[in-house]
């Protein structure tokens, strides 16, 4: 039996006494790109937060790579990109420093960075197209660039499963396309992705499966062609392997 990167069974979560998730089942298989959709209040953010251990679970089970969440120790296999840009704190930090904190799953209690860490960090920064900003302070970058730095932070751990909470929120269309190229290349390399989104946009061709939540329960779990989406007239049928982006790591700036 192959281990699923993520397996959620009968998940029930309430916040402040209010039920938010009611018996949700969700699987992400190796190499799959799953989109989690739903309107505000549907519980999609809560679902991913519960899956990574940020929100306590009332009932049900979360397993990462076959291990129960509370016993899961291989945190470097998981990459998490939070919803709002939390790149900026009270004192300055460079892109490299922020991305470096993505390597801590391997040295959780103590330990300074190694050469391997530096190599992985620079590769991740390169992957999101921020190489020329490695030593820049994150507070001096745009919202979209900060979001890319947070994605690089998740990539730096060389994660097999990426869980992303609305990475395209507040990002304009051109840059959503850039982001979708990046995500496409990741999936092509075999990374599993669970992505929370409000709408599909340029990500639609990449998605293997869409799970729609409404009022804390799953109302759809299948290919996204079945989803009516008034904003997109064309549905690009995709055979599963997007073109390797060639210009991506070179010049990320689209005006």
């Amino acid at each position: 039996m192959t281990l699923l990167p993520l397996s959620v069974r009968d998940l029930t979560v309430s916040l402040d006494g209010r039920p938010v998730l009611r018996g949700v089942d969700l699987d992400v298989a190796a190499g799959e790109f799953v989109a989690l959709l739903g309107s505000n209040g549907s519980g999609k953010s809560t679902l991913v937060r519960a899956a990574v251990g940020l929100t306590p679970i009332d009932a049900g089970r979360v397993e990462l790579f076959g291990t129960a969440l509370d016993r899961f120790r291989d945190r470097q296999r998981l990459g998490y990109v939070p919803q709002r840009t939390r790149a900026v704190a009270g004192v300055p930090a460079t892109v490299r420093e922020v991305v470096m904190s993505g390597r801590l799953a391997r040295r959780r209690f103590a330990g300074w960075r190694t050469k391997a860490d530096l190599v992985a960090v620079d590769a991740a920064i390169d992957r999101v197209g921020l190489s020329d900003r490695t030593r820049s302070s994150v507070s001096e970058m745009s919202g979209g660039q900060q979001q890319r730095a947070l994605i690089a932070r998740a990539l730096a751990s060389e994660a097999e499963l990426l869980i992303m909470d609305e990475p395209t929120a507040g990002v304009d269309h051109d840059n959503q396309e850039t982001l979708s190229e990046l995500l496409g290349s990741l999936v092509h390399d075999g990374t599993s992705v669970l992505l929370v989104a409000h709408e599909l946009g340029p990500l639609r061709p990449l998605i293997d499966r869409a799970v729609v939540l409404a009022d804390g329960a799953v109302v759809h779990d299948g290919p996204c062609d079945d989803i009516l989406d008034a904003q997109h007239v064309h549905v690009h049928r995709h055979d599963g392997s997007p073109d390797q982006p060639d210009g991506f790591s070179g010049n990320p700036m689209k005006v």
Partner: protein, 279 residues
């Protein structure tokens, strides 16, 4: 200036100033990073109750202060993590409780609030050899842990949730930061006094971030500024006959002012290497 090195009390005071000037910003950088700059003040007020407890029981006040401030640090972290009180209200409670408790206990010890003066404003020239050993040991502990655990503490203060998902023990390290702050406060108590100790934790950090871009540079520069302000302030106070505490803090503020001007000028002159882009 060399003459002051001839005095025992001055030599001890200088050593205490060195440890304080390094330790306070070493841990203060993390407080500012997670926007808890006032925590130092809150714990300073709680330490006052600890001092008063020492006066009441006859135990060395610096020890009771460390214990009470340490407990206060744990309490406020637990409130912040699990309680429904907002951080600023919880901090305000500490402020009020600390001062009220401190004065009350002092009264119970048959002394007026004036006995707390040397703790409120510092009395670095009365540092004994025993005090110095304690100040040195605790100061070294704070600096070694702040630098040694820097990658993990950075992650916890930069983005606590992401650190938690990475498996970093965020609860433990949050409490550790608060406890190290409490320890630093009692170390700095003799130098700058409880009312101003937070200034030495925060102002050097504020000064260095006017000109730095990385966390590491900010952290190290803050310690240099703290050291310079502490030693410079002590020497200046000797020369112009003022109390060391406020002199040290004012020098730190002057450095902040200069750094702000330098930083602003440097930013205006920096050539625009990166065109404005949307993402």
């Amino acid at each position: 200036m060399i003459e002051l090195l001839g005095y025992d009390f001055m030599r001890r005071a200088l050593i205490a100033a060195v440890f304080t000037g390094l330790a306070a910003p070493a841990i203060g950088t993390f407080l500012v990073q997670r926007r808890l700059a006032l925590l130092g003040d809150g714990l300073g007020h709680v330490a006052l109750t600890g001092v008063a407890l020492g006066l009441l029981t006859g135990v060395a006040p610096i020890l009771t202060a460390v214990v009470v401030a340490g407990l206060g640090a744990v309490l406020i972290e637990l409130l912040r993590m699990y309680g429904r009180t907002s951080a600023d209200v919880a901090l305000a409670m500490l402020f009020y409780g600390g001062i009220a408790g401190g004065v009350l206990l002092t009264n119970l010890a048959d002394e007026s609030a004036n006995s707390l003066n040397s703790y409120l404003f510092g009395a670095i020239t009365t540092v004994s050899d025993g005090d110095l050993v304690l100040v040195g040991a605790l100061g070294v502990l704070v600096v070694v842990l702040s630098i040694g655990l820097s990658p993990q503490l950075f992650a916890v203060c930069q983005d606590e949730e992401h650190a938690k998902v990475s498996g970093v023990p965020v609860r433990l390290y949050s409490i550790l930061i608060a406890v190290l702050a409490a320890v630093t406060i009692t170390v700095a108590m003799r130098t700058v006094g409880l009312l101003l100790v937070s200034a030495l934790m925060v102002v050097p950090v504020a000064a260095s971030q006017q000109v730095t871009r990385s966390f590491r540079a900010t952290h190290l520069a803050a310690m240099v500024v703290g050291l310079f302000a502490a030693v410079g302030g002590l020497v200046t106070s000797y020369e112009i006959e003022t109390q060391p505490g406020p002199t040290i803090v004012l020098i730190a503020l002057v450095i902040f002012g200069v750094a702000s001007l330098v930083g602003a000028a440097a930013r205006r002159r920096r050539p625009r290497r990166h065109p404005v882009d949307s993402a």
